[in-house]
């Protein structure tokens, strides 16, 4: 097991800077998730950790060992690829044995470990099959088995669930977490799916455009987003954003005409100076229908059975709110929304940085 420490990592492809200085710490034995939109550099970061790419600057350390210049084979990592990358010409058993055979392990030990991994993942009946005779889910398990057998100090997962269908994805997600808990090996997991990130991570790194925007336990990042991007990335439906100006304890929401827009009260924040242009962030489920409050003109509703989503505008800016299932709302209604000041996020209108955290 190793803790991973990344400092100032830079990576360029031609003229494009893909990683612009990454600092990250993955505690030993934890499950770290790199999450972000496409092109944010998370896969590149993972490949740098694996040693499949060479860094242009900065360092990567496993515990105290500087591995930045080391070949993958010397780093003692195991990787599960998005496309599984099984050896097509070898049977499942041989796929599992491959890494150990390279390290000249004794056949007895190899067999023991292979059987162990096979039983952990339910691969026993498949051991003599060729990869092309396996389903997607089976192949993914073999890919994981191949990584487990090696007993490395670090597991790396490159979007392993992307190629599975939705039902399977949910199931395997749980299995991966259970596996991690059993083996207690440090894992770094890359995904673009924030649900996977939220449910799997011990520590989550939200990345955007070659930088780590925020790192921390999932719920902390969710509740205390430090930037507008992070706030909008996590949560579904996404957080609502309203532009306005600070006026004392309230934010005056900008209105389309010159008149006064609605006002939202927020919890005290030192940086919320008077007159500052801010963006207010409110999650759809943090509002309540009340008698007085921010007026929402409903334009569209989605009834999901367990809950209902109402889409509309507040002072001309688009909003979606979550309502209890029993609340009957039709387009055209004007709802009054009440918001708990504690749940109101405040971001600087230009930089997007949070004014609360």
């Amino acid at each position: 097991m190793a803790a991973v420490t990344i400092e100032g990592l830079l990576k360029r492809f031609g003229d494009t800077e893909v990683l612009k200085g990454i600092d990250a710490e993955v505690p030993e034995g934890s499950f770290a998730v790199l999450v972000g939109p496409s092109g944010c550099g998370k896969s590149t970061l993972l490949r740098l950790i694996a040693g499949l790419e060479q860094a242009d600057g900065g360092s990567i350390r496993f515990d105290e060992r500087n591995v930045t210049q080391l070949e993958p084979r010397d780093r003692d990592v195991a990787m599960v690829f998005q496309s599984y990358a099984l050896y097509p010409h070898l049977s499942v058993r041989e796929n599992l044995c491959f890494g150990l055979r390279l390290r000249k392990a004794k056949q007895k030990d190899i067999d023991k470990r292979v059987d162990e991994a096979a039983s952990m993942l339910g691969l026993e009946p498949l051991l003599d099959r060729m990869p092309k005779a396996l389903s997607g889910g089976q192949r993914q398990r073999v890919a994981m088995g191949r990584a487990i057998v090696r007993r490395p100090s670090l597991f790396l997962f490159d979007e392993p669930l992307s190629n599975l269908d939705a039902a399977l994805r949910a199931q395997v997600r749980v299995d991966i977490r259970k596996l991690h808990d059993q083996l207690e090996t440090t894992s770094v997991y890359v995904t673009h799916d924030q649900v996977e990130a939220m449910t799997l991570a011990d520590v989550m790194f939200v990345m955007n455009r070659g930088r780590v925007e925020q790192a921390g336990p999932p719920l902390e990042v969710y509740d205390k987003p430090q930037s507008r991007f992070v706030a909008g990335f996590l949560g579904s439906p996404a957080m609502n954003f309203l532009d306005g100006k600070v006026e004392g304890e309230h934010v005056q929401i900008n209105s389309p005409d010159d008149g006064d827009g609605p006002r939202v009260k927020f919890a005290p924040a030192a940086k919320a100076t008077e007159g500052r242009a801010v963006t207010v962030g409110i999650r759809p489920h943090h509002v309540e229908v009340a008698d007085v409050g921010v007026p929402l003109k409903v334009t569209y509703t989605e009834a999901l059975g367990g809950e209902t989503y109402a889409y509309g505008r507040v002072a001309g800016q688009p909003i979606v709110v979550r309502l209890e299932a029993h609340e009957r709302v039709v387009p055209g209604d004007v709802l009054k929304l009440g918001v708990d000041p504690e749940c109101v996020q405040l971001f600087d209108a230009d930089s997007g940085r949070s004014l609360r955290w």
Binding site: R73, L102, S119, L121, G137, Q138, K178, Q182
Partner: protein
Amino acid sequence: MVRGLRAAWLGAVLCLVGLVVPRSAQAETLRLWHAYRGDEKAALEALLAQYERDTGVHVETLNVPFDAFLSKLQAAVLHGEGPHLFIDAHNRLGALAHRKVVAAVPDGAEVAPVLREAAREAVSMDGRLYGLPISMKSVALYYRTDMVTGPPDQLENLRQTLRAPLGAASYPLAYASASLYFHAPFLHAFGGRVLSDDDDFQFVGSEAEASLRFVHGLIEDGTVPASADGALVTQLFSSGKAPFAISGPWLASELPDGLPYAVAPLPIIGAAGEPMAPFLTVESVFFTPDGAASPRAAELGRYLFGTEASILRRRDARVVPARRDLPPSDDAFVAAFEAQADTAVPMPKSMAGQAVFEPADKALKKVLNGTMGAAEALAEAEFRFDDVQRPPPEPASTTPALLILGALMSLAALAMVKRARDRSFRAEVRRSLPAYRYVVHAVVALGVLVFLPLSAGAAISLFAGPPDEQYFVGLHNFWLILTARGGPLLANGSFYLVLLTTIAWTLINVFFHVSIGLLLGTLLARPTLRFKGFYRVLLIVPWAVPNYVTALAWKGMFHQQFGAVTAFQLKLAGLLGMNMEPIAWFSRFSTAFTANIATNVWLGFPFMMVVTIAALTSVPKDVLEAAKVDGASRWQRFRLVTLPIIRPNMLPAVVLGSVWTFNMFNVVFLVSGGEPDGSTDILVSEAYRWAFTRQAQYGYAAAYAVLIFLLLFGGTRLPAWIKSLRQRSRSVGEDEPGPVGRPVEVKA
């Protein structure tokens, strides 16, 4: 539409007319074939032009290369399109008569008295004259008047005539020693002969051995170069590195103008006590059967043979005429050759006579470069000669073959009838009828262009005898081949030895093809390589150049004196401070084989390289990355991941390459030519020799071809057959893929 059709018909009619008309116009023209070059060609053309001016008869000439003469003549005469007259050397008379392309000279008895004795004898068969001799050629002694005082009285006293001592790398006498034609003067001086009157091999015995020992002695004491060909002799004589040379009148045209030289008849050999007597070649005008029947052709022949023509030829082309009723020449050059012609021995003209040279040349080579003793080499030559001359096999009864054929055909017919009666089969055929329309032309084309010639060729293997009188011998040819004609199984020229050579040739070549192709393909597939396009083009070039061009170029490079490889070898040796003799690449099996392999590897690796590049694209990049992370080094990734994945893609290419290499005629024939002594011949080139150089033994060669086909067919079917056996044993344990997404049970 109608207009187009009409135009097409008109065109067709015109074509037909065009084909027919020249035929009749040819009745007015005489056709004459020859193989002359240079002055002789000019003289001939001048004579023909004069003839046309005098008689108004146009003579159409065709210049045919010497080697192709015989087969072209035969083919043309067979179809009635041959020449009326042709000019050829008398020693081919036997072969010409055998192929029935020559007829007796009309009114030959009138002509005979005018001829020199030797010339008359040379062109007579069964008491009749078969050609009109127009020139006599032999070798004589050339000498540099600026370097020697004159011809020696005895060959042994050559050095005494030198005006000044010779420089380094010089020889008193240069001639092509390893050729029976040039060795003949020595042989005849010692009283030996090449062929008896009964067509028995006579280049054996004490006289022949004495002549060989004598020449070997000349080589040993540096009088004569160890091995020289015509080009080298010319070069040595003209550059002054050899003041004496033995060559024929053709040498004169290759010497620079103003070179001070003269010619004299060959001297006496003191040790033999007799003068050196070279072979005499009598060039003659021959009549084809068509020509002999044409009075116009007879007239032309007499004109070419006439005194005027002879004198002109003697003057302009400097050849010795065969008539003896001419005024003496004032050209010292011609006079010398004329004097030599008196002692020259006419070359044998029977077909056996032609068969003497191949084994005799081989024996000469071996004896003169010290590889074998004289007696042994000559005995081997005699054995070879008898082998080639062996009487053709007895005709076999066709009954068993016809019975078998009949049985097979009835079985096939029965099987077809049985299938045809099956209703579902008939329905299927009816359904597929439209498809046959698309396929029928390809089937017909393949049938006519591939299967028909293949079957015809295979059928020839069941026959033997001269080309126009083949008779059925059943499987006798195969029997002869597979029992190595009664000799030891691994004797030189036996099927099994050649087979082993061919297998070694194939294996070694394919090994290098695949390794080099694999290496270069892998290098070129690297994404970071610059100038990739340039390298690809450069590396395809060996494959793109026609391979006989390549073969000839490499042959030149391996030349012991002038070759680039030799120059490189000497340069390298010089750099390393070693004193090396230039390697005689084609004098030993190992080096000749290496030369062939080098050429063929150069030719063949691009194909494998291209196949490798294509196959490498099928290796998924992430599988290689997985191997990297699993801990494989670059070599391990290549060996354990890349190679197994591309192997099924490479296999067809390797099979193809093996088959092509097994049959690579061009390289073996053109580079080493089977040297030394036929040991580097592979099955195809050996088959070629049987068909085209050893008296047209087509049936034997066809049997060779059938055997090659069977070998390759079996060889390529073998892996597939083994694979199907293996698969049958493996498929016992196969099941269907399992259901999708079983829940994973992670044991706590």
